[in-house]
Point group: C2
């Protein structure tokens, strides 16, 4: 069984989409990563922080998925990180209505002893100084460190972000953010520049248009599954990251061929995430459903042209 160390937010989300709106529901990068990774043969731990307003019900939900929560600090009298957003009609763009850091503002992550030598580290989207602090606490360099980030950190803490990017093996980032980070419109060129920043592998997420995996001149592309309806994209990127890192922690094989499979597994799980609000779909997802959709991914992309060379 592989060991996966996750750092990221546990949060309350309030979401508006063309299909409705929610009250404060369970959200956060670490939540989606943990739920997605739990479908693989891994022992995961989440390093995060919440206030004492965070329901036991949410923590139990994660604990039941074989996720170690000893690295989750509960701040007495503190409030949990809160994010609120409203999606536009095309669901590709959104406005952030509120971001309340609360307990996250003063968070000092502590990696549990048992997870200081993980197989894979998944640094979910949050402050790069927190991501670096998690790396610094490891006793041996793990086989693979994956970092997810977003434009907010490029805008506000670029130096710290570039510093931690140097130390990771895989950067997962969306297409517009890759362009912002590198000042290159071509994603091929953007990926080449990111390689030069440190990461051996670059994953560029294009939402409904799929995801690209780069390793120098090797490129792999996984489409998003065409869906009748995308209900709520919140957490899709984190779910991708959880499927990606969870699969790699369970297989302990970091070849390009196996990273291709990890991209497919991540895309597959993300395709479920967007079907309902928040974590709802991810909480009720069977092995059979996952396998069935993997076969759909396969028939969606696999062809058999006779190549003469």
């Amino acid at each position: 069984m592989g060991k996966l160390l996750i750092v990221g937010t546990l949060a309350f989300d309030a979401i508006e989409s063309p299909f409705g709106k929610t009250d404060k529901i369970l959200g956060g990068a670490a939540t989606f990563i943990g739920l997605a990774a739990s479908h693989f043969n891994v022992k995961s731990a989440i390093v995060s922080v919440v206030g004492d307003d965070f329901p036991d019900e949410y923590l139990n939900l994660l604990a039941k998925r074989n996720i170690d929560l000893s690295g989750v600090e509960v701040v007495n009298g503190g409030k949990t990180f809160f994010w609120s957003g409203k999606y536009h009609n095309d669901l590709n763009t959104r406005d952030t209505l509120a971001t309340e850091l609360n307990t996250l503002a003063e968070f000092n992550p502590v990696v549990p002893e048992e997870f200081k030598e993980p197989d894979v580290v998944m640094l979910g989207n949050l402050d790069p100084t927190i991501q670096q602090s998690v790396i610094d606490q490891l006793t041996t360099r793990p086989k693979l460190i994956v970092l997810d980030t977003m434009n907010f950190w490029m805008d506000n803490t670029l130096d710290a972000l570039l510093s931690v990017i140097k130390n990771v093996d895989v950067l997962t980032i969306n297409d517009e953010e890759a362009r912002q980070l590198t000042q290159e419109h071509s994603l091929v060129r953007a990926a080449a520049k990111i390689h030069n920043m440190g990461p051996k592998y670059v994953v560029i997420k294009k939402g409904e248009h799929g995801a690209l995996l780069f390793q120098d001149t090797n490129v792999f592309f996984a489409p998003a599954l065409p869906l009748e309806e995308v209900f709520d994209p919140t957490g899709a990127g984190d779910t991708f990251a959880g499927g990606f890192s969870g699969y790699l922690a369970s297989t302990k094989n970091n070849s390009f061929e196996n990273l291709k499979n990890a991209v497919i597994h991540g895309s597959n799980l993300a395709s479920f995430c967007v079907e309902k609000f928040g974590t709802e779909r991810m909480q009720n997802l069977s092995k059979e459903e996952i396998e069935q959709r993997l076969t759909e991914f396969s028939s969606l992309t696999q062809f058999n042209i006779e190549l003469q060379s």
Copy 2:
């Protein structure tokens, strides 16, 4: 050897892109379709019209590719169709600067006797009444009729367009146009509605984001090859259509499995088209380059996950 009947424009194009601008150069849907299809084992014929300002050099270029031009009417004293456009910085959007129909305005297509029983008909993007007239001249119903169109005909001649769409087997259309035609944002739902309009197969082209092939509940996706630089997208959709229909005419196999291959061949050829202005890249394209890039398409998309079911 398969027979492919092509109707479409032969044109002068003047193009501005972030990389430069051209004078009047060779363009037109039938030009790009014919050049692309010429890479397969087919005898093609173009049905079109030009003025006597259209250089013999351009006609010779097509004739040398084994394309029958007896269906190309040359109007003495007439002027050839002219299109001018300017691409924005992202190359995904463009402004049309000029559209001069000229001889195209009064065009009555005449299908050469030898091509009244083709294997495949490729109805390139032009007035749907011209597309229908070509179908009406056929002596037997061909195995496959493919129609390409664009938003201009939806805006201006929707009834005529819907009428000819009823009579075709494959509609190729871009994503925004599919949404406009069906009033459905989801491409899965848009394809289902288009099936109900007549076509058994629907190809939705997403430019740099690839192309989707639908046949009822069967879906196949071909990515666009990630390129360092897209120079000029003009003709990419027509080149796709030419590769798609040319491959199908040469193989005479209209199964879903073979249409998947046709989508890959179309995408492969389109990936070359955008590398230079106009037809420049398509005029100097070797069998070896095409084969080499097909192997890139294969490694870009093929994976090997063990499926349990």
